[in-house]
């Protein structure tokens, strides 16, 4: 009798009305799940904090390990209010030197252990150890102490106040699980079991790595910010760009971040299943003028030591043509060591316009004329002839080098292209064995990273051209360290650099990203392309076999 009463029509209807929507919702939830096969050009053999270094490692590490917070979408590294919470739920300031982070109580490591203040203290200690990661230790040099006030509260105290303080407090350190790592000595960490199967706190968890072939992650269903919709993420190692395009075109792979700008887009967009997205990058391409003599840092460069010559050379380069030839429709220029993704890029003054006539006149004013009629300018018997080092690993730079050679020939400058294998190019660059170096760098998301290559202090590091101008240093010091440093200071610093012309800045090429059309909610972050991957989903109408 009781059972029969339960199954009366109104009760049945109510049950259907109650159950059906949730069942449909469940089905909807399931139907926008899927998998993704991402092509990487390098192997991610150690995707673990303190052992990063290559982009592939960083890409994978960003899915496994979180930071306390990350910059907002505008990437304004000096505006701590714009930062987005990750492992820290909120933060506050006790004074200009002290930041208090409250950890998110929902955050857990992939083994189920809650993320605690102990993990934060341990991770910062590891990163600040200069024997572990000298580069990060240097970046964290202004940090005085990291202390745990409770299980969930951590206090970071700095030695001085500066605009990038919050960025330094959050960006450089991805947290490691102290309970699993603190017994492993740093020198044995790389070969440890933890690195072979890392345990993080991110949206995806480790599944396996097949060395030389692929690496697999799976969705972390308990991710405290929301379960990812992509259940499987497979990173395929494909070194040859042609092979990578073929895998996309035959449907074996879904995403590739290094589409060759010339041949890639037309081939990929001809396939209706694929699209090519762009994301601003932190890359800058430039012709670096050596300030010191070729291979001899004790003497100034006989030609390029003169800022007037450098300015003239910079004016004789037609950047529009270079960009079009090397990057097709995707070329983006820059006229300072600032990438398109930097928040200060909008402050870069318009650089010197292309004017070969003015360049030639400037060189004439400086005493460079073609005295012997061989088509090459000379001064005191010294021809205006320079060697341009180009790495053969970069097709765009190889293409542009020939055009630079021709453009400078027109104003009477002889350029000899020296095409070098990457390790040889790097070696010569480091030793200062070049006149002009066709360089490309990926910069730090904070514009303050400029000091590494463009200040007197950087000469001991990556300032390979030994460029040093105390006036430029002073402008940069003000822009970077003045708590009120803003638009005016950055503009002045960039203008001073442009006037000194330590390099001819050419491009900040965007990332060309090939992606299958079935993915939705796609957002590519310039500082970490895949860090929003957990928000991506699959269009239910376009799911393919590997999504099921």
């Amino acid at each position: 009798m009781l059972g029969r009463r339960r199954l009366t029509a109104p009760r049945l209807l109510a049950a259907i009305l109650f159950v059906l929507p949730s069942a449909l919702a469940a089905q909807q939830r399931a139907s926008d799940h899927g998998a993704i096969v991402i092509i990487l050009g390098q192997e991610a053999s150690t995707p673990v904090p303190t052992l990063l270094g290559t982009k592939a490692n960083i890409d994978v590490s960003d899915l496994l390990f979180l930071r306390l917070a990350r910059p907002g979408r505008g990437l304004v590294t000096t505006d701590e209010k714009s930062f987005e919470p990750q492992l820290a739920q909120r933060w506050s300031r006790r004074d200009s030197l002290t930041i208090v982070f409250e950890l998110d109580p929902r955050a857990k490591w992939h083994d189920g252990v809650p993320v605690s203040a102990r993990d934060v203290v341990f991770s910062f200690a590891r990163m600040r150890d200069s024997t572990v990661d000298p580069e990060r230790a240097l970046l964290l040099r202004h940090l005085a102490t990291v202390t745990a006030e409770s299980d969930r509260r951590v206090v970071l105290r700095f030695r001085r106040a500066y605009p990038d303080q919050f960025y330094d407090a959050t960006w450089h350190v991805q947290l490691l699980p102290a309970h699993l790592v603190d017994t492993i000595p740093p020198e044995r960490f790389a070969a440890s079991g933890f690195v072979r199967a890392p345990v993080g706190s991110g949206p995806f968890r480790w599944v396996r790595r097949d060395p030389g072939r692929q690496l697999e992650l799976a969705a972390n269903p308990g991710f405290f910010l929301g379960a990812p919709k992509l259940d499987r993420v497979i990173f395929l190692l494909v070194r040859d760009p042609e092979a990578a395009l073929n895998l996309l075109l035959d449907g074996s792979a879904d995403a590739y971040e290094a589409v060759p700008p010339g041949s890639g887009p037309p081939r990929l967009t001809a396939n209706p299943a694929l699209r090519v997205l762009t994301a601003p990058s932190f890359g800058v391409v430039y012709l670096l003028f050596n300030q010191r003599a070729h291979g001899d840092r004790s003497r100034p460069h006989p030609i390029l030591g003169d800022a007037g010559v450098r300015r003239a050379l910079s004016r004789a380069i037609d950047r529009t043509t270079l960009l079009r030839s090397a990057y097709g429709a995707y070329g983006l220029g820059t006229s300072a060591p600032v990438a398109q993704a930097h928040w200060t890029h909008r402050f870069v003054p318009k650089g010197p316009s292309y004017d070969p006539g003015a360049a030639r006149a400037e060189l004439r004013r400086l005493g460079w004329s073609d005295h012997n009629g061989d088509g090459v300018l000379d001064k005191n018997g010294v021809p205006l002839a320079l060697r341009l080092n180009v790495p053969t690993s970069s097709a765009p730079r190889m293409a542009m080098a020939t055009q630079v050679q021709e453009q400078l020939r027109r104003i009477g400058v002889r350029i000899e292209q020296v095409r070098l294998e990457f390790p040889v190019w790097f070696e010569r660059r480091k030793r200062g064995e070049f006149d002009v170096d066709f360089a490309a760098v990926t910069m730090d998301p904070a514009p303050s990273g400029i000091v590494q290559s463009w200040t007197c202090a950087g000469r001991a590091g990556s300032n390979f051209a030994q460029y040093c101008d105390p006036a430029v240093d002073a402008f940069l010091e003000k822009a970077i360290n003045d708590p009120k440093g803003g638009e005016r200071e950055w503009r002045a610093a960039y203008a001073a650099l442009q006037n000194d012309a330590p390099a001819a800045f050419i491009a900040s090429p965007p990332t060309l990203f090939a992606l299958h059309r079935r993915y939705r909610n796609v957002h590519l972050r310039p500082e970490s392309l895949y860090s929003d991957l957990w928000l991506w989903s699959v269009d239910p109408a376009r799911r393919i076999a590997r999504d099921r």
């Binding site: 998998a35 096969v37 192997e43 053999s45 150690t46 270094g53 290559t54 982009k55 200069s130 024997t131 000298p134 580069e135 240097l138 790389a190 070969a191 690195v195 396996r208 060395p211 030389g212 072939r213 692929q214 499987r232 497979i234 395929l236 190692l237 494909v238 070194r239 040859d240 042609e242 092979a243 073929n246 895998l247 075109l249 035959d250 449907g251 074996s252 792979a253 690993s393 294998e421 990457f422 390790p423 040889v424 190019w425 790097f426 070696e427 480091k430 760098v441 990926t442 990273g449 590494q452 290559s453 001991a460 590091g461 990556s462 590997r546």
Partner: protein
């Protein structure tokens, strides 16, 4: 025979040792910084570079580096890769060797069975349309760059007709716990195009060798005598004439054996085949000394061993060259 074998083995050992020493010195003398790839995507301070140099022993004098290397070799330790840090070189080679052996072995098998059989057929039907056309086709394929043929095959077979995968050695989504049959069939599907590419562009060599050797053996007296005794043509062909062609074919096989482990750089790149060829090419491009030494030692070892085995094969096959 045993003294000959011992002397020949010692010679091989000396050759191998000299090759290894020469490789070690040449690699260190060649320009290029082995740490360049580690610093490709970010600015690295001198301090970090110094730390990395110390980690890989690159800050040591050449003599000390050689001593450390040789001491490691005696323990079976070829060091740690610079580009794949912290992977030991032996693990990297062990991981790549099966793929290379599979690809090289399949090509070798195909070339020395189908190629040899076709060569015999051509010799038997000398001057016929079949002989002329097969010669033209084989030489045309031989003149074709393997990477180009690979790209054409991928463009049509994989991308246009979707018949076979464009690259990889296995389906990346295949479950790790899939059965051996499923895994085997999957690898076979992926193997077809690279094998076809390498085989088509190289089969002319065994085919032409076999044809010429067969034609030469058909002219020998004992073959004529066999025919005169009324032995069937099939028997004359395979039991008498073909057996005499084994020595020249063995020479060719000996020369090809190193391909088994050296891999094909271009074809491995086109098909993203995870073999030793691409590992070595990558190591050359980044001056990854430990990996380069490891792969070079393996190839040198196989070259020396192949020479030794070929000599041994001669002795077994032909009593005239057997040592007293």
């Amino acid at each position: 025979m045993s003294r000959w074998l011992l002397r020949r083995s010692l010679q091989a050992l000396v050759t191998f040792t000299l090759a290894v020493l020469l490789l070690f010195v040449l690699l260190r003398v060649a320009p290029g910084d082995p740490l360049s790839r580690l610093t490709e995507e970010r600015a690295v301070s001198e301090r970090e570079l110094a730390q990395l140099r110390a980690r890989f022993g690159l800050n040591q004098p050449l003599g000390a580096q050689l001593r450390a290397f040789l001491s490691g070799v005696t323990r079976g330790d070829l060091g740690v890769s610079i580009g794949h840090y912290p992977e030991p070189v032996t693990s990297l080679i062990a991981a790549r060797l099966p793929a290379t052996l599979l690809l090289g072995g399949a090509v070798l098998l195909l070339n020395f069975t189908v190629g040899a059989w076709l060569g015999v057929r051509q010799a038997v039907r000398r001057g016929s349309g079949f002989d002329r056309w097969l010669t033209r086709l084989a030489l045309a394929a031989y003149a074709t760059p393997s990477f180009w043929l690979g790209m054409v095959l991928v463009a049509f077979v994989s991308i246009r007709w979707h018949l076979l995968p464009a690259a990889q050695m296995s389906d990346p989504l295949l479950a790790a716990d899939a059965g051996p049959v499923t895994k085997g069939l999957d690898v076979l599907r992926h193997l077809v195009l690279p094998v076809l590419t390498l085989s088509l562009t190289s089969i002319a060599l065994p085919l032409r060798h076999q044809r010429a050797a067969m034609l030469a053996s058909f002219r020998l007296d004992f073959v004529t005598a066999a025919r005169a005794r009324g032995i069937t043509e099939r028997r004359v062909r395979w039991r008498h004439a073909w057996r005499t062609t084994l020595v020249p074919m063995l020479t060719l096989l000996g020369l090809w054996l190193p391909i088994l482990v050296s891999g094909s750089v271009f074809v491995e790149a086109v098909f993203n085949w995870p073999g030793l060829g691409s590992l070595a090419a990558e190591a050359i491009g980044s001056r990854d000394y430990p990996v380069l030494m490891g792969t070079a030692m393996l190839v040198s070892g196989v070259v020396v061993l192949a020479g030794l085995l070929t000599d041994l094969g001669y002795a077994l096959l032909d009593p005239r060259v057997r040592p007293a």
